[in-house]
Symmetry: C2
């Protein structure tokens, strides 16, 4: 008994991690437990509320289904459930009334037909994107309630009484849910959305830093395989993956945040739409980061000896980009406007620096040809980094092909790589792509700044306070525009 | 009455489109209608099944909740519901048994405590990713059933009887759902996954074609603004967006497909995991497409006059890439292996062609400097396309800034653009990035082919039949590898 099996340990560790990741999950779980216990007490109060107990299952059902993680989600589901029940109840009552007044057989047929029609219509309507997004649960409740009432009342003939008791208990259930989610340790989707936004900016900043760091790293790492790379790789991958995958989660949070009236206190309205916009601009920005990451993984690489020539200006430019991203992140985090000098002069200087460095090395793009030829001559003697990369990847392909037993492709593979090798220009191209992507980032940064500033305006952020920030760097080159 | 308001018309059009997009939605809606009508008939059979009617609401509830769009989803939900109910019932029965044997007060406390503990534990467990993915609904049903039974039986003392009748009606409900979803116009998630995979390949192919087409288009279109572009833009954007956004949808389909045993008939097992792998490789491939699209939208553009020099080889290479993608798409669509000559010699020839064209224009990368200086001199007289682009975008920025009244950023903006203008090298870089991305695509194509061939092997695709395809082109250059 003392020695837990391995699987059990893993499960317990999983359970622990779930709570560690977000301790509010534990609180939410406790809240659900308390709410369910409260609802069960209804049964003990049979003497006081006679009609209630029979329908108490509706209160239990409501609590189980409606009490969601965040306040906004609970409000939304509660409203969906409430509206769905009321509308379905009214419709069921009307159909019941018609059926009772048309005789037993005709009434039965009428009820059957309406069940079919309403069932089909509602199911079909649930495919409409707008309804699917906002009222899917309400539609389900409507269908459920309508069928339950119609079918049972065909026997019982006491629709109004049932409906009354049911609404009453559902009301109790929703009431308990609201108290638990709004007053007891409330969890606000608006806060989550806010946090997710500035976390993404931080992540992107770290991701760009890691990318550039890895691109210019000195040591040759192909030999050690992907073991030591995994840390950096992980950081980069997570950085942009979080941003790229955030769309649906952010949209859900924004939808829930709409219901959280608390947020209107600070300003006119919680600007959930603007957060979505910032998110979508960030996604566009991160496409460039993905492409930058692609430069690290590409099969054809600019030799390290050439890359190293451009290390300093590239690292400097990337550093400036990261600084801007961090400043934006901080500005959102502290709900203040970002520094008016966010597009700092040092960014311009870094851009210029990279440009002049590239200009000072024209032999890279002209001379790669000659350079290549010399390499070709003593290829067998001492292979350059590039060659080792290419031959490594070709070896990998060969191994893979052989393993799947597809000999016919082997020849093709090799010949394709032979062509790639003979592309002298391809040595310079990847670095050009890398530099171009860095510059493209600077250009796209602008739209990100625009949207974040717009967010600051709509959400009534504090004015930027110079005294808080200590700027160490002096502007290097000041270029005054026309 | 005859003249419908505008909003009504829009809603009707929406409804129509939902059905037009996927006519199976209409069929599904009808199926739900029929299933609900069938379940309602249970009430008419009161004389035959005495115990059933009272609990018929469980059958209705089951049909409403379990009957999903595809067969796999229905099976999965049905199993979740069934298992959840049975386990919860057993547990509730055990707790009931303990409570009855411990006196009224102690029993009440015991039940209260277990409701709290089980409610909290289950809610907490629903946060575990594995359970959230596979058994979320089962957990909900468990919680619901457990609470309903525990609470109600504290009064009624007839747990077994209730559980029996309830299971019986839930069984009827699940039975109706299974018949409707497996036998009447079944909708298979496996087929959807299959279709989604080859559609994505087609989309990517069309997307690359449109990208290259737009990049080399002759006419200057900045003036006409984005109106005429929107068609092409839409095609490109949709092409890769479908691939990038497909992750969660594909994973859901694959999960449902696992339950669809029908698919095992053809082969050992439906290779849903392999479809997921193809999807993920395609996503990686499409990052390159996104970056390529970024080349069209970038603020700094290589002048059209220079781009045009490379039009033919680029278009040719892109054409070859698209040909490979289309072949892969067809191979999956017809469930046959792809052509052994998929990495055709013409692809190699196209690569070489692009390479030699770039080599023949070294002045582009060396001379952009000189070229730029001449332009600078007669800048005011006749601005080149590049200048018009830059000034257009700067104008746009100026207008925007002015509109938001942020004068302080205006100066910064202008000065930044001034720096960008002075980056002579930046004229050549964007095209280098474009060409590099095309080559990178060829390299990544390889992994896509690997995964698709793997899929063919696992899913027992037909052998490739040469006679079907009519190859018009002759291989241009045959390079035999070592």
């Amino acid at each position: 008994v003392l020695k837990l099996p391995k699987k059990m340990k893993k499960i317990l560790k999983n359970l622990w991690n779930v709570g560690k990741e977000d301790p509010r999950r534990v609180i939410h779980a406790m809240k659900v437990g308390v709410a369910l216990t409260l609802v069960s007490l209804l049964y003990l109060m049979e003497p006081f509320f006679k009609g209630v107990v029979k329908n108490a299952l509706w209160a239990v059902m409501t609590v189980v289904v409606v009490l969601e993680f965040s306040a906004g989600a609970t409000l939304r589901k509660g409203l969906n459930r409430g509206l769905g029940t009321i509308i379905a109840g009214s419709l069921a009552f009307f159909i019941e009334w018609v059926a009772i007044h048309s005789g037993k057989v005709l009434g039965g047929i009428f009820i059957g037909t309406s069940i079919f029609l309403i069932g089909s219509t509602i199911t079909y309507m649930r495919f409409i994107p707008y309804i699917k997004k906002n009222y899917d649960y309400g539609m389900l409740v409507f269908l459920l309630t309508f069928n339950l009432i119609t079918v049972s009342s065909y026997r019982v003939d006491t629709v109004i009484k049932i409906a009354h008791a049911r609404l009453y208990t559902i009301g109790i259930g929703i009431g308990i849910c609201l108290v638990m989610s709004l007053l007891v340790f409330p969890i606000w989707s608006g806060d989550d959305l806010h946090k997710s936004t500035f976390t993404k900016l931080q992540g992107l900043s770290r991701c760009i830093e890691a990318c550039v760091h890895e691109y210019f790293e000195d040591k040759e790492r192909d030999q050690e395989s992907s073991d030591s790379e995994s840390d950096d790789e992980d950081l980069i991958y997570k950085g942009y993956k979080t941003v790229l995958d955030s769309k649906s989660a952010d949209e859900a949070l924004a939808m829930f945040a709409k219901w959280e009236l608390r947020n209107t206190r600070l300003c006119h309205k919680f600007p959930s739409q603007q957060y979505i916009k910032v998110g979508s601009v960030l996604r566009k920005f991160s496409y460039t980061v993905v492409a930058l990451h692609g430069c690290l993984q590409t099969e054809i690489q600019t030799p390290r000896s050439i890359r190293i020539l451009f290390k300093d200006p590239c690292v400097r430019l990337a550093g400036e980009i990261c600084k801007v991203l961090s400043e934006l992140s901080e500005s959102i985090q502290n709900r203040r406007h970002c520094s008016p000098e966010i597009l700092s002069d040092s960014l311009e200087a870094a851009l210029k620096d990279l440009n002049s460095t590239i200009k000072s090395q024209p032999k890279l793009f002209l001379g790669s040809n000659l350079h290549r030829q010399t390499v070709e001559q003593n290829d067998t003697v001492s292979p350059l980094p590039l060659n080792s990369v290419v031959s490594l990847s070709s070896l990998r392909s060969v191994k893979k092909s052989a393993a799947t037993g597809e000999k016919r492709r082997l020849r093709k593979q090799l010949s394709k790589i032979a062509v790639m090798k003979s592309l002298e220009f391809s040595e310079a191209l990847p670095f050009a792509a890398f530099a171009s992507l860095l510059m493209e980032m600077v250009a796209r940064l602008d739209t990100v700044i625009d949207e974040v500033e717009e967010l600051g305006t709509i959400a009534c952020f504090k004015e930027y306070d110079k005294t808080v920030e200590v700027r160490v760097e002096k502007p290097v080159n000041l270029v005054v525009g026309d």
